[in-house]
């Protein structure tokens, strides 16, 4: 299966961020501090870079703001191999994107993994939902994994996107593009305003405040103020005014492409930000906020920037999700949604390039498929003690999540990092 290779490629890239995918143990911390140290020395000293230069990605060096690249002599890696590997790293994401983009043309059936052929509307919708949540998780990681902000209210901005689009189209009768644009502006503004208040606090208090703000959103939606949200029932999208190409089961493929585009956009934006000087300040904030203060930078402004950006990205995801599922339901406002985002990011690997995406895609896939799995005959035949819990996706995911926190603190991507020594061994032998 090619998926495995992509995963390892991604992990190699993420290692280049100086985040070994492991925010927990000593070595991960070290990697991060090296990055901060670099910042500390204001670019005049490139010593800290040499070690990681071999892992710097093509994309990352392409970022113009980067300090001068390390001397080419850095590391003991022979030049040809590095070229080959860096080429792989540059191109493999594009390759994956290409594969995903042409996937709807395939009529292959993968029994057990999906019901029906790959280009069936059911499968495409499931895939599209997975992609949206992959993007959502990547956006959330901008806060959690890359800046170290534990927000429990991210669902609010996603819900703003879902309900904003829905209400503006269905109740106000705006054309879709206007509705989406207004929603995006509104959601981003909301994130900026609430972030400005919430960021007066830090740490656990920040988590609680964001949770409380999101709760207000949930209450507003559930109580159906002004008859806008449809309360517990939700609000289905009025499709009469939408472009024809986005309506109907036969056009699911267009929504799928839209979701894919969203994911690509989020990954691009997050990575662009992470590689920029701003991104290095954010990483510095995550590691030790005081040092950023010492540098004369205002942590508040950078955190607000990250919060607003992540909020805007989530709003955009919400708008696409609204089209995808054809409406809004109150569960998108629940704190549980934020908690699942957290689970996705941690399962995938916080602060890594592909970890959160992978976590989001896998989580949503499992969430949907485990329901089917739970009612399958294999599980039904188990004794009640087992079949009951196994039929609950959240039980399985919650348990996996807990185990991941203990045993794979860097998430899925750390697994491949752990395998790196073996890989190196293999290549050494072959050369």
């Amino acid at each position: 299966m090619t998926g495995g290779d992509e995963v390892t490629g991604g992990a190699g890239v993420s290692g280049g961020d100086g985040v070994t995918g492991d925010g927990v143990r000593g070595d991960g911390v070290t990697g991060r501090t090296e990055e901060t140290g670099r910042l500390h020395r204001a670019g005049s000293d490139v010593q800290g870079r040499t070690e990681e230069a071999g892992m710097t990605t093509g994309l990352k060096t392409a970022v113009a703001d980067n300090p001068p690249a390390a001397p080419p002599t850095a590391g003991s890696v022979p030049v040809p191999r590095r070229n080959w590997r860096s080429a792989l790293r540059t191109w493999s994401p594009l390759l994956v994107l290409l594969v995903l983009a042409v996937l709807p043309y395939s009529t292959v059936s993968v029994p057990g993994v999906f019901d029906g052929p790959l280009n069936g509307p059911g499968t495409l919708q499931l895939l599209a939902i997975c992609l949206v949540f992959g993007g959502l998780a990547a956006g959330y990681d901008l806060l959690f994994g890359r800046t170290g902000m534990l927000s429990f209210g991210h669902a609010l901005y996603f819900a703003a996107g879902v309900y904003g689009t829905d209400i503006l189209v269905t109740k106000a009768g705006l054309p879709l593009w206007q509705a989406a644009l207004l929603t995006l502006v509104g959601g981003t503004t909301l994130a900026a305003l609430l972030g400005a208040v919430a960021l007066r606090t830090a740490g656990i208090a920040f988590a609680m405040v964001t949770l409380a703000f999101a709760q207000v959103g949930a209450i507003l939606v559930a109580r159906d103020f002004g008859g806008l949200t449809g309360g517990e029932e939700g609000l289905s999208l009025d499709v009469s005014g939408l472009p024809a190409m986005l309506v109907g089961v036969g056009n699911t493929v267009n929504l799928y492409w839209l979701a894919l585009a969203y994911l690509a956009l989020v990954v691009f934006v997050v990575h662009r930000v992470a590689g920029s000087p701003t991104g290095r300040v954010l990483a510095g904030l995550r590691d030790d906020e005081r040092r950023i203060g010492v540098l004369g930078l205002d942590p508040y402004r950078f955190k607000l920037l990250a919060f607003t950006l992540a909020g805007g990205l989530a709003t955009a995801g919400g708008a696409i999700y609204c089209l995808l599922v054809g409406g809004a339901s109150p569960h998108v406002t629940s704190s549980e949604l934020t908690l699942s985002l957290l689970v996705m990011v941690v399962l995938g690997g916080p602060g890594t390039r592909w970890g959160p995406v992978l976590g989001g895609v896998l989580y949503m896939y499992l969430d949907h498929r485990l329901t089917a799995f739970g009612t399958s005959s294999a599980v039904e035949s188990l004794p009640g003690v087992l079949s009951g819990p196994l039929s609950q996706p959240l039980f399985v995911l919650g348990t996996v999540f807990i185990l991941a926190v203990y045993f794979f603190p860097g998430g899925l991507t750390s697994l491949s990092t752990r395998l790196t020594p073996f890989r190196r061994l293999r290549t050494d032998r072959s050369s």
Binding site: V24, I204, A207, V209, L211, S340, Q392, F395
Partner: protein
């Protein structure tokens, strides 16, 4: 007048529920720095254990002494679960705050799902003695007895907790630990024992809230704990993390505010006012009403 009395007493009943959940949450947070998302699960465990005991435990039942026994069983179950969570899940992650939060998040998701798998997602009628379903006239208002029961229980728990914190060795350790955990260790005290104890106490108080909340609402469902938890969090933040007395004040403020605004304003406006109160308190006094001390 009778409306105001009624609203005040039902608001206090709500406050009692919040206090029972928040006091444990606050102590756990103050002492061990653990933001315990699984605390709502403790509440649900208490409710379900009481419900189960009333139907199945010999001697226990829906009325009289049998009911007391059922509630005692529920409270014990909450304490045991709280203790087990600390020993098995929190302790291995000692002082790794974020991971501890993550684990409790996972536990709250998995635990609620487990309850659902076992007893279904739909609310179940809760066993309750007849007298709790009647009302008592207070100054012309007909106040539900279950609300009064909640208030009395919360007052008792508050008094017991304060007594425990003031007059026992472990209480002393907890109060000192809330101030400076590391220094407690440096005096030769195994502060982790106090963690376990605080989780047990918190679990028991939350379980009591679950049992009496079941009586109050008349039913029990797996997600009940989660929805109460958010307001309990708010109470903890407003009251000052780690402060039992602060939690009590904040619970009363939140309960009354919610009840009155929801009655006189639109339904749901009270909840929003509570969040607004939280925002105001945090902006004016980030450490909460009481600051960081267990009994002030």
């Amino acid at each position: 007048m009778s409306t105001i009395v009624l609203l005040t007493l039902t608001g206090l009943g709500l406050a009692a529920l919040y206090f029972l959940v928040a006091s444990g949450l606050s102590l756990v947070f103050g002492l061990a720095d653990v933001l315990n998302f699984a605390h709502g699960l403790f509440l649900s465990v208490g409710a379900y254990a009481t419900w189960w005991a009333a139907g199945n435990l010999p001697g226990a039942g829906p009325s009289g002494f049998g009911f007391v026994l059922a509630v005692a069983f529920g409270v014990a179950a909450g304490a045991v679960v709280g203790m087990a969570v600390e020993l098995v899940m929190i302790r291995p992650l000692y002082s790794r705050t974020i991971e501890q939060v993550l684990v409790t998040v996972g536990l709250s998701l998995a635990g609620v799902a487990l309850l659902q798998a076992t007893w279904g997602a739909d609310p179940r009628p809760f066993p309750r003695p007849d007298w709790t379903q009647r009302v008592t006239p207070v100054l012309g208002a007909k106040v539900p007895n279950s609300g009064i029961l909640l208030i009395l229980a919360a007052v008792l728990v508050l008094a017991a907790l304060l007594g425990f914190l003031r007059y026992t060795r472990y209480g002393l350790v907890i109060r000192a630990g809330v101030e400076n955990r590391e220094m407690v260790t440096a005096l030769g005290i195994d502060v982790r024992k106090a963690f376990t104890l605080v989780f047990a106490i918190g679990g028991a108080a939350a379980a009591l809230a679950g049992a009496l909340g079941g009586v109050y609402f008349g039913s029990v469902s797996p997600s009940q704990g989660g929805s109460l938890l958010i307001f309990a969090f708010i109470v903890v933040v407003i009251g000052g993390m780690g402060s039992v007395v602060g939690s009590a004040y904040a619970a009363v403020a939140v309960g009354l505010l919610q009840q009155f605004v929801n009655y006189y304003g639109t339904s749901g406006a009270g909840d929003i006012c509570v969040v607004a109160l939280l925002a105001i308190v945090l902006l004016l006094r980030p450490q909460g009403i009481a600051g960081r001390a267990a009994t002030t």
